[in-house]
């Protein structure tokens, strides 16, 4: 029996060792590439880069704000760091990730979606595994310790055993790692200013019945974001991107500068679904955003 146990342990140890080395290499390759926005943010810009405007949020702000148009109009450097399938806690993490690189931005735009106005769920978002290459950074590990639900927190423990997180998200990480090895500068569904667009042919045909929401900006994560931007000398704007059917009115938004464009566009042809604008809608949304930004900037 002793021989059996020792041999089993030996084989398992060999397998685990090789698996961890491969996983570590995979994460290193991804971490050194531009493949995900999390890795692009680290590698594409020089340390200490100063931005004029940086957008953080979900797929809604990714679809609605075109930082290329903003840059061309204002003459500054604007980048969209929004990531699809994420919620407000991920936006805060991305913002921390942004400041951790020594970057600064005059304006920080935080896009807010309906589920995150008053509180956020304590769960990780669909694409949070994209932070895995930087799990050794405390702010990232702490996030996963707090938000990962399972008994075994696969991403959190990847700091010590990289194969756990890599194996758990293998379908999301393996092919990108191979791609990143072959083309380190490849960006997955965004351009050099972080933009992605939903094509016009996805446009909706019918206008749905409107829904009305009265809400407050009471989410404690917003307060954390405000403190972080304040500490790093950025001015914070809370942005509500256009909805096709949802009319959101925000009660007493005195604590924050708010651009509420939830009812900016009322035609289905500008939307790919109820929450994302298509490319032509993006132009309208961005132009309106620039106008409101100017108004805010000109306020005494």
């Amino acid at each position: 029996m002793k021989k059996f146990v020792l041999k089993s342990i030996l084989y398992l140890a060999i397998a685990l060792f090789i698996a961890n080395v491969l996983a570590y290499m995979g994460l290193r390759i991804l971490g050194k590439s531009d493949f995900f926005k999390t890795t692009y943010l680290v590698h594409h810009f020089p340390e200490g880069q100063s931005f004029d405007l940086a957008v953080f949020g979900s797929s809604r702000s990714l679809a609605a704000i075109d930082t290329k148009i903003i840059g061309e109009t204002t003459g500054g450097l604007a980048v969209n760091f929004s990531m699809d399938y994420t919620a407000l806690p991920s936006s805060l993490l991305m913002l921390e990730h942004f400041y951790a690189q020594g970057y600064t931005s005059e304006w920080v735009v935080i896009s807010l979606d309906l589920p995150d106005f008053e509180e956020s769920k304590t769960v990780i978002s669909e694409n949070d595994h994209r932070f895995l290459p930087y799990i050794s950074n405390n702010y990232i590990r702490e996030y996963f310790v707090e938000y990962e639900e399972a008994m075994l927190k696969p991403i959190a423990i990847s700091k010590y055993v990289p194969v756990v997180g890599f194996a758990y998200y293998n379908m999301e990480l393996l092919a990108p790692a191979v791609q990143a090895l072959l083309r380190p500068s490849y960006k997955y569904r965004f351009d050099e200013l972080g933009n992605y667009q939903y094509p016009d042919y996805l446009a909706q045909q019918e206008m749905p019945e409107a829904r009305y929401f009265k809400t407050r900006l009471s989410n404690p994560i917003l307060k954390e974001i405000a403190e972080l931007t304040n500490k790093n000398g950025s001015k914070l704007i809370v942005y509500i991107a256009p909805y096709l059917r949802d009319d959101i009115s925000v009660e007493s938004p005195l604590d924050f500068l708010v651009i509420n464009h939830s009812r900016l566009i009322n035609e289905p042809k500008y939307f790919s679904d109820y929450i994302h604008v298509v490319n032509s809608g993006k132009v309208l949304a961005t132009e309106a955003f620039i106008e409101d930004l100017r108004k805010i900037d000109n306020q005494p």
Binding site: M1, A15, Y168, N170
Partner: protein, 471 residues
């Protein structure tokens, strides 16, 4: 507790060490097996434990009484009592709602509305497996094939043995109970073969079944919009999902048992290399098909009666086999299809030469058999009969234009990975089939490779329970 869970990864080494440390204390080993099996089973829901203990107790007592009684009437009564108790429990938990709804539908068809009195019942995991196992014990004592267990402890261990408790193989007392009654010796070569089977089973479950499940579920959910090709992919992937899932579980169960010094019967022997339906049923879920052969087909007269009655018996076995899988007409039709496909082999008494070991020469037959098995899988997988018929209709009409698999990069990657490893598995199985082996016997070095494959290609995020737990 699932074999592919963290809890089990902690549970197994503890039980293994405790068990073999007590190798000189046979009784203590049995207590360890029994209590660890109850912990394993109670992990789902501790209330289920009362059922398995009750079932074990009833059959233990009835078995003892049967062994002592010579009066045939009393013996029949005792057998009936065991059947009534076990099938009663199974019928209540598994089939009550089905019968209630079917009666209601039958009456509404005749013009009378009767609302079905559905009960909110949780199906105890593995009830069909351990019920059949305990029933075989009583049957065998009744037929005087075995002597009743004198001691309760080995018998209770036999009924609840955790490696095969929830999804088989369905063991016979004549094969397994004796192993509980005598001391077990650790044999290195057998334990190593067990470990190899465990890794192979995990590979089939985690890499093939769990990844295929992601695609299969969505294709069956949105089958009305899918193209013929997509629907065909859906059913082929399901064929390998259920095979990877169920045979993977069986391999792990057999492997675990070997590590604990037990020998379980073979449950799958490369079924997708079968050359006809008759051959398929000698390879697929062998422990269940042989159970029905021994305890249903032969008692009904088997092949010793006229051809037509024998054929009736065959059809009864296939229908009951389908119904055993679940309280749904889809399973009954699945059994019926297999029964109908079996008829030509029933009348063609001369046996085909299935000992041709060149897989290449038999590829057309293998492909044809696989195709008809896939056709029947549509019924097995569908939620109801109309969905199954519509699924087939959409394959034939090609009305849909969607292709779920090719609609996103991630799905293409999953599909590519699943197909690559299905082919690998089939090559490995074909190799061992050609060597006339009954199981895959991988070299030790390949285990490291398989573990790496499981880590990097396994469907951990889409972690699924074993399909057969619901039966």
């Amino acid at each position: 507790m699932l074999f592919n869970s963290i809890e089990f990864a902690i549970f197994l080494p503890i039980v293994f060490i405790l068990y073999w440390v007590s190798k000189n204390h046979h009784k203590l080993q049995l207590y360890i097996i029994l209590f660890s099996s109850y912990i394993f089973y109670g992990w789902w829901d501790w209330r289920f434990l009362s059922l398995i203990i009750f079932s074990s107790l009833v059959d233990f007592l009835i078995g003892k009484k049967l062994g002592k009684t010579l009066d045939e009437r009393k013996r029949r009564f005792l057998l009936g009592l065991s059947l009534f108790t076990n099938l009663g429990l199974l019928g209540f938990f598994k089939y009550y709602n089905f019968f209630a709804e079917s009666f209601s539908e039958a009456f509404s068809f005749l013009g009378r509305e009767i609302s079905p009195d559905r009960l909110d019942i949780i199906l105890p995991v593995g009830i069909s497996f351990y019920t059949f196992q305990t029933l075989s014990y009583t049957f065998d004592i009744y037929k005087k094939k075995i002597d009743p267990a004198e001691d309760w402890l080995p018998f209770f261990g036999f009924v609840s043995f955790f490696p095969q408790l929830v999804a088989g193989p369905i063991e016979r007392a004549s094969h397994l109970l004796g192993q509980f009654q005598k001391p077990r010796v650790f044999e290195y070569s057998i334990a190593v073969s067990g470990l190899r089977l465990i890794v192979w089973g995990l590979f089939k479950k985690i890499v093939i079944a769990d990844n295929a499940a992601v695609l299969v579920d969505e294709i069956f959910l949105d089958y009305t919009n899918q193209s013929s090709l997509s629907l065909i992919f859906g059913v082929v992937l399901f064929a390998f999902q259920i095979y990877g899932d169920f045979s993977g579980y069986s391999d792990i169960a057999i492997g675990l048992s070997r590590i604990f010094g037990f020998d379980l019967m073979l449950n799958f022997r490369f079924p997708y290399l079968a050359q006809n339906i008759n051959d398929f049923w000698k390879r697929w879920h062998i422990s269940l098909s042989s159970w029905f052969r021994d305890y249903v087909y032969i008692p009904l007269g088997g092949s010793r009666v006229s051809s037509w009655i024998s054929l009736r018996n065959v059809m009864i076995v296939f229908l009951v086999s389908g119904f055993w899988h679940g309280a749904n007409w889809t399973f009954i039709i699945w059994g019926l299809i297999h029964g109908l496909l079996y008829i030509p082999f029933f009348f063609r008494k001369s046996h085909q030469d299935l000992h041709e070991h060149s897989i290449l020469k038999k590829l057309p037959q293998i492909f044809l058999t696989f195709s008809v098995v896939c056709l029947a899988w549509i019924f097995f997988r569908a939620d109801n009969l109309s969905q199954a018929w519509n699924y087939i209709g959409h394959i034939l009409s090609n009305e849909g234009t969607g292709n779920y698999i090719f609609g996103a990069n991630k799905r293409i990657i999953i599909f590519g990975i699943v197909m690559m490893f299905i082919m690998m598995m089939m090559f490995v199985e074909a190799y061992y089939e050609s060597k006339q082996k009954k199981e895959v016997l991988l070299p030790s070095w390949s285990l490291v490779l398989l573990v790496l494959v499981i880590f990097f290609f396994g469907g951990f995020k889409n972690h699924e329970s074993f399909i057969y737990f619901q039966f």
